[in-house]
């Protein structure tokens, strides 16, 4: 099974730490001793961890029957590849044991054993991360949660869902849709990613604008601690001011201080009336103006505001052409595009508001052109223009993906700076100076959240290109007081660069927390805080 699991549709956003909501405006600290490491140069194996052997395998098999390993021939190296490699095929672990526990108790027993033996463990959900956070770096045991996939309970009055961490996001959402509710998170990888992984990486996604971050919607967690103890914090309460809010530490902890085995989450009612419109615009300034107008005219029914540039759209068109699904959308194309989604409970009310906005935008010539979905089929196909960007970039070449938070006004400036830098480095294709390996630099993202994705499409991953991009990209983010990881997290890719977004005190505190929960440093080593 060499192909990465089906990433249901279009990949776009996944994971991680939301450092954009820092409460204090502390100046960005740049560590002078920052050890810069490039993605292809990973840290060496630490001798403090025990190397997994056949004996360990037998003990783990006694705990959990669905354990696969190359050590006893129960699986081939090829078969373990889909656990060792990330879906972009950028990170390649060398784990020899995959444990897939079926219950929280089994997870607990596995951790107890590994803690006692000093074996490092990488927790893994749907393995759809973009920063190499869910694959082993060396020979860590892979603790895959896909067998922990039951919905435990749902309360139709409060909307509180309790489910295992290994439930696939789309499965949870389909379950809720039947009951007229919606999961307060939606992202491109929904057909593969797990809700436990979503929480542990603090995934943001397409509807954060409307439903807020997981820090607000998650009410409780069940976690297996690194030493195997089970912490039952599956609260269903919205208000609970009794002591430290421990679950918050786990939201965005990327499996470094415990394994999320179940979540309790508050789910809103599913909007019964939804609309989507896509516009072409002539400049990034125009996108910002439309954003302001959309908020003003639509108010509470605005559920998503996404933007993408013409380079992104070109990638999507090419991808659709190759698959026979291209379709003319705009009479007048532009340098930028934006997508507005509304969701409400009254179709007439929503339509009146949306029509008001559209008329205003047309009359004041704030957009070049636009289309409005007339039915559910068009609703899906218009969304796909935006959702297909990451997948289309992936089909066009090897993609360097960056996910940053910056103030909305400065967002697109980063893409322009990155293009200039690559042109200067002589690696941008068709710039006259060279037949460079970079085919496209595409910018898109969640306007509503100040979250920009930069995808740099190259012929292949090389050190030369990476050195031009990094750490330059993090420097320009820091200059703009942004975050180097808006929602993808740190993983192994961005761990060395956390200093661009967090000051020394923050990092020191994080290290102390890690030490407190995981004194042996066994969970997801070489990543996050290093």
């Amino acid at each position: 099974m060499s192909a990465p699991r089906q990433i249901s549709r279009l990949l776009s956003r996944r994971s991680l730490i939301s450092s954009s909501r820092r409460s204090t405006p502390t100046p960005i600290f740049k560590s002078p001793n920052l050890s810069v490491r490039h993605g292809s140069h990973l840290p060496p194996r630490s001798n403090q961890f025990t190397q997994p052997t056949k004996e360990h395998l037998d003990a783990l098999k006694a705990i959990s029957s669905s354990t696969l390993s190359t050590l006893d021939g129960s699986a081939t190296e090829e078969e373990l590849r889909s656990f060792n490699d990330d879906w972009m095929n950028k990170y390649h672990g060398k784990g020899s044991i995959v444990v897939k526990p079926k219950t929280t108790e089994e997870v607990s027993e596995v951790m107890k054993y590994c803690y006692e033996k000093g074996i490092a463990v990488v927790p893994q959900g749907g393995n759809t991360g973009l920063v190499g956070g869910s694959n082993p770096v060396h020979d860590e045991i892979i603790l895959n949660l896909s067998n922990l996939n039951q919905i435990r309970s749902f309360d139709e009055v409060s909307g509180v869902l309790v489910a295992d961490g290994g439930v696939i996001l789309e499965t949870a959402d389909h379950f809720l849709a039947e009951k007229g509710f919606i999961f307060p998170l939606d992202l491109g990888a929904k057909g593969s990613c797990h809700i436990g992984g979503n929480v542990s990486t603090n995934a943001g996604g397409l509807r954060l604008l409307r439903y807020g971050s997981l820090h607000g919607s998650v009410l409780g967690l069940e976690v297996v601690l690194p030493d195997g103890r089970i912490w039952n914090g599956l609260s269903k309460l919205r208000k609970d001011n009794t002591g430290f809010d421990l679950k918050q530490l786990y939201i965005g902890s990327e499996g470094t201080i415990g394994i999320i085995t179940a979540i309790s989450i508050l789910c809103p009612r599913r909007p019964s009336a939804m609309n989507v419109a896509v516009f072409s615009l002539e400049s990034y300034e125009a996108v910002q103006k439309v954003f302001a107008e959309a908020k003003g005219h639509l108010g509470e029914i605005l559920s998503a505001f996404e933007f993408f540039d013409k380079q992104s759209y070109a990638l999507v068109k090419k991808h659709q052409e190759e698959n026979g699904g291209e379709r003319k959308v705009f009479e007048t194309e532009g340098d930028f595009y934006c997508l507005i989604e509304t969701g409400g409970s009254n179709a007439e009310h929503d339509e009146a508001k949306l029509t008001g906005l559209l008329e205003h935008l047309m009359e004041n010539e704030m957009v070049l052109d636009g289309v409005l979905a007339q039915d559910s089929t068009q609703f899906q196909s218009l969304w796909s223009l935006r959702e297909l960007v990451p997948e289309s970039a992936g089909k066009a070449g090897s993609v360097y993906k960056y996910d940053v938070s910056v103030p909305v006004g400065k967002m697109y400036g980063l893409v322009e700076k990155m293009r200039a830098k690559l042109r200067e480095g002589g690696v941008l294709e068709g710039d006259g100076k060279s037949e460079g390996p970079i085919r496209a630099v595409a910018g898109y993202g969640h306007m509503g959240d100040g979250n920009l994705h930069i995808n740099i499409v190259a012929n292949k991953y090389t050190d030369e290109i990476e050195k031009i991009i990094e750490p330059y990209i993090y420097e320009i983010v820091a200059e703009n007081e942004g975050s180097i990881s808006a929602e993808h997290g740190l993983g192994v890719m961005k761990a060395p660069y956390i200093g661009y977004s967090k000051n020394e005190t923050s990092m020191e505190l994080m290290k102390q927390i890690k030490q407190l929960f995981d004194p042996k440093g066994l969970l997801n080593p070489y990543k996050y805080i290093v």
Partner: protein, 260 residues
Amino acid sequence: MRPTLPRLVNILVPVKRSIDYAVKIRVASDGKGVDTNVKHSMNPFDEIAVEEAIRLREKKTTKVDNITAISIGPAKAVDTIRTALAMGADSGIHITTPENAVVEPIAVANALKKIIDDKKFDLVIMGKQAIDDDSGSTGGMLAGLLGWSQGSFASKLEVEDGGKVNVTREIDGGLEKIEAKLPMIVTTDLRLNEPRYASLPNIMKAKKKKIETFKPEDLGLDLTPRFETISVSEPPKRQGGGKVESVDELVSKMKEAGVI
């Protein structure tokens, strides 16, 4: 020899407001229909018909004088007509019916005939069926009532300047090409075209386009249904699968079920 005067073609496109293609259909509590309190859109085959009419005009091999969208339905059917106007139709006709009234194909065909008799149309392009009742008979009935030619299940349509029409039809096992003369009825199949999106400038323009409204009695029509729906039921629920531990167990289960 004097050139023949270019023929101006008037096209009528019937459009139906039906339950959106993506909506999960549920049986209504009285067991005599389905829950209609859900999202409605234009019947997808009718959308293809509107698109084809606009493409005929854009191709310019035929001079299209006017494209009229007509809908028979409740007040909200106006939204469906507006969608056709936003796509590029020129004007609309709305024959109003009470909310949730059932209008059978023969009644629709009679109403369309009445409109066609009163106003001059040369070509009717309509969906081969509506996705709600799946009757698929209005096109044929209308052709019969008018005594016009018909090209059903069209996957390709060409109208020449002299009024000659070539229709490629999708039939079992292949394609059939027929040739006819205007006036005629063409019903659309899925592969005829892919309908365009309604652009904002056209949505705005559509608001200013004229929609004539008639009550059935104004036109001397009787839309009373001839059939009574006795009951509507859901298909039997699929039984969930089960897991077996071994091949032996699988074989014994299959024997149990009598499939081997």
